[in-house]
Symmetry: C2
Subunit: 397 residues, 2 copies
Amino acid sequence: MEYRFSDRVQTLKPSAIREIFKYAADPSVISLSAGNPAPEAFPSKEVAEISREVLANRAVEALQYSITEGYAPLRTHLQEYMKSHWQVGRDFDGILITSGAQQVMDLVTKSLCNEGDVVLCEAPSFIGSLNSFRSYNARLRGVPMEPDGIDIEKLEQALREEPRAKFIYVIPNFQNPSGITMSLEKRRAVYELAKKYQVMILEDNPYGDLRLSGDPLPCIKSFDEEGLVVYAGTFSKVISPGMRVGYAIAPAALLQKMVVCKQGEDVHTNIWSQIICDTFLTQYDYDAHLERLRGIYRKKCGVMLRAMEENFLPCITWEPVHGGLFAWCTLPDGVDMPEFCKQAVLRKVCVVPGNTFLTDENDPCQSFRINYSTPTDEQLVKGIGILGGLIREMLGK
Amino acid sequence: MEYRFSDRVQTLKPSAIREIFKYAADPSVISLSAGNPAPEAFPSKEVAEISREVLANRAVEALQYSITEGYAPLRTHLQEYMKSHWQVGRDFDGILITSGAQQVMDLVTKSLCNEGDVVLCEAPSFIGSLNSFRSYNARLRGVPMEPDGIDIEKLEQALREEPRAKFIYVIPNFQNPSGITMSLEKRRAVYELAKKYQVMILEDNPYGDLRLSGDPLPCIKSFDEEGLVVYAGTFSKVISPGMRVGYAIAPAALLQKMVVCKQGEDVHTNIWSQIICDTFLTQYDYDAHLERLRGIYRKKCGVMLRAMEENFLPCITWEPVHGGLFAWCTLPDGVDMPEFCKQAVLRKVCVVPGNTFLTDENDPCQSFRINYSTPTDEQLVKGIGILGGLIREMLGK
């Protein structure tokens, strides 16, 4: 049989990160390439407790079919929580529980984009989302990042030049991969541009609760008076990614289309895990749990930053890390970045080459991404030591 | 904001069954419209036991990110099980764990169909799958059913007339909604036609293990020497639908595309539930569990059939029920089927109007679907009694 694939998957390929993960699966390799929560960050005891209670007293509810929109108590409680804590959600908004925030990216694209429509995104940006947009044959246009977030002038230029733009995809807090946080001024500017050009905003906020220093900034969704913004949230970084529970808070008119699309994709999200998230959110001290997580990551982040300061030559720069799970390091001109990543693997340290996160992987890029949540402190110190030595070697210093 | 939706969702609407479910949610209404497993069919005690062990001893594995292809032991064990029990799976095949079998429908369509490509399906067929195909703007062409399965002559005619046909969608065992089982001869004929016209087959088998009488027939996938067939399986009807664990056994070349698409949709399937399914399949007596389920459904099916025989006029006919969860009843000419279903709701009994399952809902249809797995025995007897009275009333008898 000669398979005739759809045009949309002809060019899709497994993410480069996945290829790197194959090396990282070798236990002798130090992986600084993942984005996994630290094992000690999982509320394992609490999940076990809740699970025991649920399966003892209302197993049928947890095992039976449920509705596409999501477990009703979780929807209510999340809406209340996001409104009271982040001023996210208005009367015209609804909430949909998804199978991870990844599914929000999928459902928004499916509901809004015809083939050839344009998604404007930060460059660099999260490859999982970019691949989701690509899988509907949306065209990606990257807008460069500045230290305080997306370049607003270039964003407006893109909006002027792309009449088929359907939405702007941004990760305002501790962006993956750059770690950059968008300033308040730029958050407002992005919103105003979306209003002016009548395009939607897809605001992806997986790391917002993992702020390690500085004051929280309002979500773009909190400005949303006209129903322009889809907010994508997730429990992956704060409870468990293996559960695959995310959510969209979005205008009901759009949400209705997303619900129908989700029905055709997976009917509904695993119901056991929705009950776990709801119970953990409402019956436990959720805010204290988040504070505990920030403590874990603050410490790990400190270990990474100290190791980088001690081992990296001053010509290596990195964005300040105020939260999230990543550091974004830039090599000086003259060091071949892809070669550096390849040589690192040969020395049994994995990082992710920065061009992976560009809309065109062939564009030049001098940066690479380090994750500090997954490795142990010892692995961080040893791995960064090896990277530091490799750079010195490649620079002949 | 005036929303500009994609063409593919412009015409998509929530399934008619969902609208009926809204009535069915009223506890005073007897719902014969669902497709839920019987509450007593869930292995709740075993799930609780496995969950306790997993969350006590390897919580991090159950809560952490996992790989898109699925939990490795489950993949191995399922492949072994399907090969030894059903001769399904060859060297060129792989397996992908999905978020319910619904996701197999989605991923196959996404990987194979450009907009306007054609999916040939049984008429009637499962609306969830039809909506999944529609969501990629595939064009559906229904091929009428006969008592022993799809009309082979009309299928060949459709294949001749539709050069853009990409796959044939069939549910060979106890089809939803018709309950019809495809004969061995027709299974072979469908395979030969797919080979002759070089189109794929998507074989959906959610009810295969729920055979209540007669001998099992081989899956179409068991004939597959050329890599033409995608087999869609699920634990929804035999362990729990709320867990959302399904799988595809398919040629590796196609599966690779499906994996990339799944990555963009939900990264991977809930890992806790994959471990539950694997442990239940390997550490418990799975075949004895299936036998217990068949016992439950044989009894419930008997209650339904007796009630139908006692309450329905002889001019009402139904397909013999040898398995699955549904009976497909046909009203005599002269009874307005949609009006019958509407009147039934007013008398607080819900069934699903048969036209819901057609590729064009506006085509004439005299049938309706009854589910016997969800209601209690008392509800079955009472509900069917009301339906019988309604028909007599509408016929003036």
